[in-house]
Symmetry: C2
Subunit: 203 residues, 2 copies
């Protein structure tokens, strides 16, 4: 049983590494099996398709993002604006650590897969949609708290949370296109400044 | 000669359609040839590799974006803030028109290819970098004009232009992930509001 469940986990970890570094379409079942050191029969014991494996990988990424990053950034013990600052800082730290390890700045696994797959695979699109909604919900709650404590002026917090998440993903894309971690850091810091500025007037 | 140059153009147009709808890795030379109705020998007469064809497709997309969209939006006859508004409006109109035609909201061809390829292909990454720099330069010039006419307070216009372009690409990604053109429209309209708000105070 131990070895069996190791094989499943190795397949998931391998999919996360290879697909994050390259793309969904570029990584086939054969390569995923070789990377994990499992036979094709084993693969199909755990997963019906590459899609199934990637849905499992998305669950692991999501669990990791929540546990390692989002729960820390969005801890209600932090003042609201510090939560947003920390969210962008962790985003930078995470990518810097991955760059240190792999020599490559691969960006957001959710954003990458969303761009590649959301017009081609409804199950993958729906899962990423749910993940995006989770983080947008956390951003909205933070903005609601900031408005309630009069740190920000009243605003449509749902729309602003969507705009903030879009900004975060866009900064990741632009910085990735330049392989420029410093840009990720600098533009991340601007998020709170934009908010504070726009929060001065109700939107 | 007429038929020969038609074949080259058909290959480029086909690459633009198929890769925009799916991805670089998912579309092979065989399918590109079948779609264009040309033999493989013809393909290799014009292009050494799929990469070569995609670099040519990027040039065509860029020429199209400049001629159809950016030159209109960034016309110096428009007041600066109207240029930015128009830039986001055209972005929406373009995607809405494509959705009308294809039933699919595929987003930005540059952003899509950047996310997929910039860690894997230096020539594609460098070309997209140059395209991104072109649009960031136009946004910076617009912000410089707005600051010079005291519509916006003094700011680091280069960094703000980068932030604005990141926001634009992020909005495209998020709206694409939901296949939600209305979100693209609404969040686009927020760009000018953010700027005006943050422009009130020098950054």
């Amino acid at each position: 049983m131990g070895r069996t469940s190791d094989a499943k986990e190795r397949l998931i970890q391998g999919a996360m590494a290879l697909i994050h570094a390259r793309s969904y379409a570029d990584v086939g079942v054969q390569e995923l099996c070789e990377h994990a050191g499992v036979k094709k029969g084993s693969f199909y014991h755990f997963f019906n398709t590459k899609q199934d494996l990637v849905l499992a990988a998305l669950d692991e990424w999501w669990a990791f993002a929540k546990e390692r990053n989002w729960n820390d950034a969005f801890s209600p013990t932090r003042p609201p604006m510090e939560r947003i600052e920390r969210f962008f800082e962790i985003n930078y730290e995470q990518n810097a650590a991955e760059f240190e390890q792999s020599g490559q700045f691969s960006g957001c696994p959710f954003g990458n897969l969303s761009i590649e797959m959301c017009c081609q695979d409804e199950a993958i699109r729906a899962k990423i949609h749910a993940i995006f909604d989770d983080v947008v919900g956390r951003l909205k709650q933070t903005l609601d708290d900031a408005v309630a404590s009069k740190i920000l002026a009243p605003m449509d917090t749902q729309e602003t949370a969507l705009a903030l998440w879009a900004y975060c993903e866009g900064v990741l894309m632009l910085a990735k296109s330049r392989q420029d971690l410093d840009l990720l850091h600098r533009l991340g810091k601007r998020a709170v400044r934009f908010l504070q500025a726009s929060g001065r007037k109700a939107t």
